[in-house]
Assembly symmetry: C2
Homo-oligomer: 333 residues x 2
DNA sequence: CTGAAAGCGCTAACAC
DNA sequence: GTGTTAGCGCTTTCAG
């Protein structure tokens, strides 16, 4: 309520009996400054309760001290798939001792990604990590900014930095596991076809099947949600009663698929083997527990954060960074 | 990559053949400006791809165009209780057509609330909505800022604006419902005792019991998490086998309590009546479905947002705003 | 090691 | 209606 405006650097300098330049130096820890001067400034800062004005500072340094995690998915989805909290956590970790804040921005159910884009392009942040983008438009729009961006997942646009999992290989591993378990007719519930993770996991599935001399045409497209997995599996299983195994491109969808199977009177794993993807908490909570491919959103995002940090420091990180995945065996297959 | 720095207002003005002031006027939609001038400016903006520099603007207007939702809980909790997404959604709605961005900030599991506080006090935002604070320190610290703040839930500090539910009344309603259903021995799992919602719901419980001539001493403190509800209920029920009804201060805890009851061989609602609080998605998904007290985090946060908007506009909103709650009957009681 | 001075890009009086 | 002129609070050459 005290309407006397906040103390400025000038006030501090005056109170400390030094120039504004010197005060600035000690506050920013810039090297050459004498002990008495720096102590006087420190005292003045404490006494006045001085806080640097970020706008003024940003105006000259072109740095605001914050980065943003851009998730072009609706809040509803962000809050319902454990992938995102984990990823956000990883991002937070990367910037933990950097003095840089990590903001989170998601799409509005009605307004879509425009506000996010606008926020980012208004230079409220020094850079961005993009997680779970669809298509290439968003990637392009984000990359058009003058600030550095790192993607989690291949943006499909040359020259943009990203971290990713080897989805093709991971999906092939999952599919081979199903074959090894004696599956004869394997279907898949894919991720969205406008996401590289969706497309590549499908490709891995098909490659593994082709390598085994099988055809991989039992495909239903999902959207990485529980309901989407349920629906896709229901359609696939009711049209193809001979399917005895399913590779599902995410755990959340896999648990939806299991529910669909139950509705159709098929038990997992007895009548139907299921392998998911992500090894998220859902895989452990599901009944039966899910055999799945490891995926570490926290590591992905942390790595992306480190790459972004490098870029902010003027270095160009190696890109892409591709993480490996391994099979986690549980009850469902 | 183009290293030529971004166009400034000066560039726009020059390209449009007007002064910087006029350019600024049309960009900000300030009234008096001639048609030809405004069109020339608009063209120049489009041609140059001009974007206002928010730092420079903020420096003079003292407005950054963003508010923040401060949730002093760990990300883990924020992402696991449906209360928060709903609240965030409400906040978003309030600012939807205001041109003001709504950021989300939560506590770090290790670093606690300090980074949040620092972020807010660094004036990265124009104001804040605080949701789910514990104790009074956080409220005080936030309120010490020069920017407006509105709380969801009574901050317990005089003079601070807030929206809340009438927890006492709601808890009493829930408890009376249990009595009406013939419960003889009613226990409660409370929220944290450092939160007003926790304290007041307990008070309502006790008042209702006292009014009915019963004693309300069967109390276990919970922490609004699933595991906390499970644990608290387990302890309470195993020490007091005569308990035949439970008022649980949140749905998430109530579903934990049901799990505990099952472990103790008691079925809900046959052996044990349970009333939750929040009417969240959990109440509908739970088995059995939960009888609960309505609570609308989205409405609470939207209202808080409207109040904050009023404050930003220089008006002082009426405070507190107290919302009513009603019983939602389902299977558990 | 320190101070003086020049802006960063923008808005807001204030004149015209 | 429009241009001129001050700054907003800070960092950063550049001299000393």
């Amino acid at each position: 309520m005290s309407e006397r405006s906040a103390p400025t650097l000038d006030d501090v300098a005056r109170a400390a009996g030094v120039s504004r330049a010197t005060a600035s130096r000690v506050i920013n820890g810039v090297v050459p400054v004498s002990k008495p001067a720096s102590e006087a400034v420190r005292r003045a800062v404490a006494m006045l309760g001085y806080r640097p004005n970020v706008a003024a500072r940003a105006l000259v340094t072109r740095r605001v001290g914050a980065v943003v995690v851009l998730v072009p998915e609706t809040e509803e989805r962000v809050f319902s798939d454990p992938f995102f909290p984990s990823a956000y956590h990883g991002a937070l970790e990367a910037f933990r001792h950097s003095g840089i804040h990590v903001l989170l921005s998601m799409a509005h159910p009605h307004d879509g990604v425009d506000p996010m884009l606008q926020f980012f392009q208004s230079d409220h942040s020094d850079g961005a990590i993009v997680i779970s983008h669809h298509g290439q438009d968003f990637a392009r729009a984000v990359a058009a900014s003058s600030r550095p961006v790192v993607f989690v997942g291949n943006p499909g646009v040359p020259g943009l930095a990203y971290v990713d999992v080897d989805h093709v290989k991971a999906a092939a591993t999952a599919t081979r596991h199903l074959l090894d378990r004696g599956a004869r007719t394997i279907g898949t519930i894919t991720g969205p076809m406008d996401m590289s993770a969706g497309v590549e996991r499908l490709r891995g599935f098909q490659q593994a099947l082709a390598a085994a001399g099988r055809s991989g045409h039992l495909i239903a497209e999902g959207d990485f949600t529980f309901a989407g997995g349920d629906e896709a599996a229901y359609g696939l299983l009711s049209h193809h009663s001979d399917i005895d195994a399913l590779f599902v491109a995410s755990d959340l969808m896999a648990s939806g698929a299991i529910r669909a199977a139950e509705r159709l009177g098929r038990r997992v794993p007895d009548d139907l083997l299921v392998v998911g993807f992500d090894d998220s908490v859902i895989a452990r909570q599901s009944i039966p527990t899910l055999t799945t491919m490891e995926n570490r959103p926290d590591v992905l995002a942390r790595t992306a954060g480190q790459m972004l940090l490098a870029k902010l420091g003027g270095h160009e990180p190696e890109s892409p960074v591709i993480l490996d995945s391994r099979l986690v065996r549980r009850e469902s297959a």
